[in-house]
């Protein structure tokens, strides 16, 4: 049976073991694996069915009724009756006069679905009209406007007018339901996505519907709050403006935001993200689906950890210290100063502290710098923390795997750092280059007195931190949203960061600073583009062989085996296997 669909839209069997069934969608026949939800079957052939409550990562209660479609089945045969089949082997479809929800029902042999019939359109009109009866229609002041399903479906499937002449039900507004989230009950359409998310994914079931009936309100139990570290995901999945983020609300209209695919650098998980930015400023981070990394979620801590990009401490120009005072300088002068200071020392006197928060490309350039200087002391700052049972990894550095591979670090990273610390304390190390690390933090463990004894301290960082304040030369670098590059997460997956905004002020991309510094110390190296860095990296480090930055793609590629698993993904796979969710 040749399906009439175009090749690219033709659904394919996920696993050959699952039997296929023939389904007619809007007059055309297709094949789907048995068990496929009707809504997914329609989506796969480009017939999107509007929906609110259905979410592939959550159970399907079928309560919003927006996905109602007209459905038909083959006629029931009398005993002994032969099915009547057309030339292609399909039986005629008897259309059922009552619509069916596409989200919770699965396809069946010889089923027919009409996503654009009079009955289906009528259902959508009706559902939209009822949903809008008590909706405040406050789009001009609603933060969801522009990415609101109710707004979108109202345009696509609504009637354009209202026949409702009565009083709208008044419900609580601007309710503080947790430290990061605000609730507007009048906007809520009771789809229960947030309730299911807190029940099924975050294991913190504090949300529920009280006063069921015409006054139904979404509520947290008195005295409780929606405060778990995954709470902001409810804002993402809320199809309307009922749940809004305290951090993002009223900051920027969403249609002004430029969305850049990147990853979160808050821990070793590397959750895939979209960075929303406008005119050089990052306004929000939202999770981007990647079923090998973070499903469709991310933690609140990682999501909100970008405000330091426009901190008051952000360095805007290179600085050199003369007679104890930092003065703004130019890039060539500052690079020259750093090079001169470092060249005055032999490799045994130089330590380079490299951050595992840097991209592979930057680490590769750091390695070049180390080799050019002949530096004998190299360390990173390990950040061991507590993992959680969801996404947060124990490793708080986003690119420890990359640092180990590219810098050739082996064994205990803390011991390496300790040896640098001791070398600085006993005066063997006379010059230190620190790349994106503040040495005066508890994690790095240096103290100001010993740093003061150094003859040269070169700092590359974004912020005017205490170490930068002691530095002889300060080179302002870029933040995670300001660079293109790659990192390797705790499971060994190579993923890509993309540039959402330009580096602040005169700051430069870290790899460019390192290139210029290497050039000033040891001569030319002919690198002009980040792609060139990756090309050299791929040529120099075995694991990267054959890869380019663009080959990494938006979802990354598995690079090395680490044996780490993601607890949240394990549970999700179980739920998919049990048929509880689509996934």
């Amino acid at each position: 049976m040749p399906p009439a669909a175009t090749d690219e839209k033709k659904p394919t069997a996920e696993t050959p073991a699952v039997p296929m069934v023939n389904v007619q969608i809007d007059g055309q026949w297709y094949q789907f694996p048995k068990g496929t939800r009707m809504i997914e079957a329609c989506r796969q052939v480009g017939k999107d069915v509007p929906h609110y409550c259905y979410h592939p990562k959550l159970t399907s209660p079928g309560n919003c009724r927006m996905c109602l479609v007209e459905m038909g089945m083959p006629p029931r045969l009398a005993p002994g009756q032969e099915p009547e089949k057309d030339g292609e082997g399909h039986q005629p479809i008897q259309w059922i006069p009552r619509p069916a929800i596409a989200c919770a029902n699965t396809v069946a042999e010889n089923m027919g679905i009409r996503t654009d019939s009079e009955l289906t359109r009528g259902c959508r009109h009706g559902v939209m009209e009822l949903l809008l009866i008590n909706h405040p229609l406050d789009c001009p002041i609603c933060d969801q406007a522009g990415e609101c399903r109710l707004q979108e479906f109202s345009v696509e499937h609504g009637t354009g007018g209202s026949r409702f002449r009565e009083q709208k039900v008044k419900k609580p507004k601007n309710v503080d339901i947790g430290p990061r989230i605000r609730l507007d009950d009048e906007r809520c359409i009771m789809c229960s996505r947030c309730v299911r998310f807190t029940d099924e994914i975050a294991d913190d079931p504090v949300l529920g519907f009280t006063e069921r009936g015409s006054h139904t309100v979404l509520a947290v139990h008195p005295g409780h709050e929606l405060a778990n570290n995954y709470s902001l995901n409810t804002v993402d999945i809320c199809p309307v403006g009922a749940l809004t983020s305290n951090d993002f609300r009223f900051q920027m209209r969403v249609w002004f935001l430029k969305e850049t695919k990147s990853i979160c650098t808050d821990c070793g998980r590397g959750c895939n993200t979209l960075i929303g930015s406008r005119e050089g400023r990052v306004y929000r981070q939202t999770p981007r689906e990647n079923n090998d990394v973070n499903s469709a979620w991310m933690c609140d801590h990682g999501r909100l950890n970008f405000h330091y990009l426009d901190s008051e401490l952000r360095l805007s120009a290179p600085l050199v210290k003369d007679e104890g005072v930092h003065k703004e300088s130019t890039w060539p002068k500052a690079i020259q100063r750093a090079a001169t200071a470092l060249k005055a020392h032999g490799g045994s006197e130089i330590a380079v502290v490299v951050s595992s928060r840097m991209t592979n490309e930057e680490l590769f350039m750091a390695k070049r710098l180390i080799d050019t200087l002949g530096a004998e002391h190299v360390a990173t700052v390990p950040r061991a923390g507590e993992p959680d049972a969801y996404l947060i990894a124990a490793d708080k550095n986003p690119n420890t795997q990359g640092a180990r591979l590219i810098l050739g670090l082996e064994g205990d990273l803390a011991a390496g750092l300790d040896s640098v610390r001791r070398g600085v304390a006993d005066g063997r190390i006379k010059a230190v280059v620190t790349l994106q690390e503040d040495l005066l933090t508890p994690e790095a463990g240096f103290d100001a007195q010993t740093l003061d004894g150094l003859e040269a301290l070169v700092v590359l960082h974004l912020l005017a931190n205490p170490t930068a304040q002691m530095a002889s030369v300060v080179l302002p670098g870029a933040g995670f949203a300001e660079k293109r590059g790659s990192m390797i997460n705790v499971t060994g997956r190579l993923q890509r960061l993309n540039k959402a905004t330009e580096p602040f002020g005169q700051s430069l991309d870290d790899w460019e600073i390192l290139r210029d510094l290497i050039q000033a110390i040891g001569g030319g190296n002919g690198i002009y583009l980040i792609e060139d860095v990756f090309k050299q990296l791929a040529a120099g480090v075995e694991e990267f062989e054959g890869l380019t930055l663009s080959k990494i793609g938006d979802l990354g590629v598995p690079l090395i085996e680490t044996g780490e698993t993601v607890p949240l993904l394990e549970r999700e796979r179980e739920r998919i296997a049990k048929g509880q969710i689509v996934g």
Binding site: P205, V206, L207, G208, F209, T210, E211, R212, G213, H215, A219, V220, H221, P222, G223, H224
Partner: protein, 166 residues
Amino acid sequence: MSFTVPQELEKEIDERITHYPVSKRSAVLPILHALQHHFGYLSEEAVEWTAAKLELQPIKVLEVVTFYPGFRQEAPGKYHIRVCRTLSCAMAGSYELMEALCEKGEIDRSAVSHHHPIAVGKDGKFSIEFAECLASCGFGPVCMVNDEFHENVTPDKVEDLLSKYE
């Protein structure tokens, strides 16, 4: 005020839970009924207690409590009167009955709202609320005083009715 469930009642509740071997959650209605019967209403503590008993989040119990008008979240008087206001009774004069009951029972209903349906008299002896159909449509207006049922309660019978409850 501390919330303590007497041993006897808790034993009865534990027994009720055994009726639902598949999911304890299903015992939420019988437990709430038992608690309301004993305490007269369902306080926040009662909701929390039920949730803990059934290993649920309190919000899941609150959802049930707020759904059924039969569950009270505020303390009623010694005698709680429920006046039917569904169609047959309404036509037979349940609103007049309500007025008469409030007047004779000295109950002020001015603060009653959707969220606070019960009005309690000054001395706490009587409390009153409207209820939907009490299933005696042929004999309206009808009302219930605690668990006792009264039919054909025209306003002139109110004084007699209230005097039965001391």
